[in-house]
Symmetry: C2
Subunit: 305 residues, 2 copies
């Protein structure tokens, strides 16, 4: 029974920096993978690697009973499932949606209930680790959903992840956990840029500041990961400023709904909004340091030729 | 010459959680150590371990030509050096003050100039790593000062540290670097407590939140170090709330002086001030989570008997 389940094709809707990498990891694991994406470049990279292109979410879902949704936000998740030629049109009873976008917990919980009306199981399964770990199949998955959904999606989850945290038996807890993680991730990026700017303004060598912090109690995963982009002067987006405008927005909406104040996250959010307001929204999120450059007059490291 | 230098006794003024541990590390390295502290318990622990008690900073400095100052702040540093029976009264020409308190860079630079008027060398040498690493002799030292001071203090620095970063040839840069580190450390503690409170309010198990974050992009050294105190419900101070009321104050004063805005640090500072205002100032800095408890009504883990 499990063998039969595992040999059915896996679908991936959204083949961007995260979904594209996850699709490659699924192919590497020997699975048959159908994918769709509005961007022809993303689709070509996927088919070049052995994936099967689908014309729409509905066409994809007709061939698969485990469908990963790796789009940017709640609106896109809604559209690819319930919009025109959406996946739900063709999904069969007992098939599984693995929802990977960062969603508010309340939205995720309602989505699980809506899919259940169509006899579709939902894994609320936001991911962490960035583009590199998506490609290497070493993501962290913060998930919740029914046991049956884990059984059906098990081989695929194994292929994309290093760790799958199971946080409950229905949608909502996975997204709540991702919200907590994004609070920290967003604050740490903003703090990293604030600290680097302070160091530069104080006359310290930015390379030395990086080295010292990485060996001190001030270090964070985000500091270690993002500051090298500032040092190289290369703001080619790996993860965009606007992602954290959105994700810290989800964090603060969660706080407002519960309700509880989240003042540190709110301060960090303003810095991402400021970067977006400066025209940096589609650049790498380390571009938040340009907000500090604008308000302190520091010189930033230049890109080497 | 170096042998003669290295066999002279080392002085430690301030034998609290950091200075006491550093004195033990110096003794373990086979050095003769003189210490002084206003607290008789601290002094007894030091003499029990083989240290020699001094009645005052002046009495201590008469016997040592390398003197560590491991007090809480600028006012105490000033007092033990230049106050009544201060160390400068008896320090000989070419002896070294190793200043370890977190000081503003401007204050540290002026202190170096004042000591130079007395022919005393200064190492601006704030430390990072906490009580445990002070005791194990594995601190990170962020330092600046003249070459001659490093030569004279070398054996002692080796005994207390894993890494000594040398950031310049005069006082100021060491403290500037520590200020950058404290910005990150303070923001990360406040963010850790904000995130844990959000997780608990969202209905997640705090133990699980800790485990997931420690395996995700939201992790920081402070999150990993401080959250276990919340999980155990034990707020016995390792590092007090009021230390970060002070240190983030130094960060924000630096920003005002340069000038540059530091909005994320400012938001975090308010949370430490709020904890202090709630009567938690002398408790562990993880007590910042009680500010979030007060504003969200969450239940926190209780101390096990």
């Amino acid at each position: 029974m499990n063998d039969a389940v595992n040999t059915r094709p896996i679908g991936v809707i959204g083949l961007g920096s995260m979904g594209g990498g996850m699709a490659l990891s699924l192919l590497r694991a020997g699975l048959t993978v159908h994918g769709c994406d509005l961007n022809p470049d993303n689709l070509k990279a996927f088919t070049d690697a052995g994936g099967i292109a689908a014309a729409s979410p509905a066409a994809l879902a007709a061939a698969c009973d485990v469908v990963f949704i790796v789009v940017v936000n709640a609106a896109q998740t809604e559209a690819v499932l319930f919009g025109e030629s959406g996946a739900v049109e063709t999904m069969t009873s007992d098939s599984v949606v693995v929802s990977c976008a960062t969603l508010g917990a309340e939205f995720a919980e309602k989505l699980g209930a809506r899919l259940a009306e169509h006899q579709v199981l939902m894994l609320d399964a936001p991911i962490s680790g960035g583009k590199a770990k998506a490609h290497s199949g070493e993501l962290t998955v913060m998930s919740s959903g029914p046991e049956r959904a884990y059984e059906k999606a098990g081989a695929a989850l194994d292929a994309i992840s290093e760790t799958v945290f199971r946080l409950g038996d229905r949608a909502g807890k996975g997204s709540a956990m991702k919200t907590v993680n994004q609070l920290l991730a967003g604050v740490h990026i903003a703090a990293a840029m604030e600290a680097m700017a302070l160091g530069i303004k104080s006359g310290l060598d930015p390379e030395v500041v990086y080295e010292v912090v990485c060996n001190s109690a001030g270090r964070s995963w985000m500091f270690e990961n993002r500051v090298p982009r500032v040092l190289s002067g290369d703001y080619t987006p790996t993860s965009m400023v606007n992602i954290f405008v959105k994700d810290l927005g989800i964090v603060l909406d969660a706080g407002k709904g519960l309700p509880m104040p989240l003042p540190v996250a709110a301060a960090a959010h303003q810095q991402f909004i400021a970067a977006s307001g400066m025209g940096e929204g589609a650049n790498d999120d380390s571009s938040v340091i340009k907000v500090y450059q604008a308000t302190s007059g520091i010189d930033l490291p230049q890109k080497k030729d």
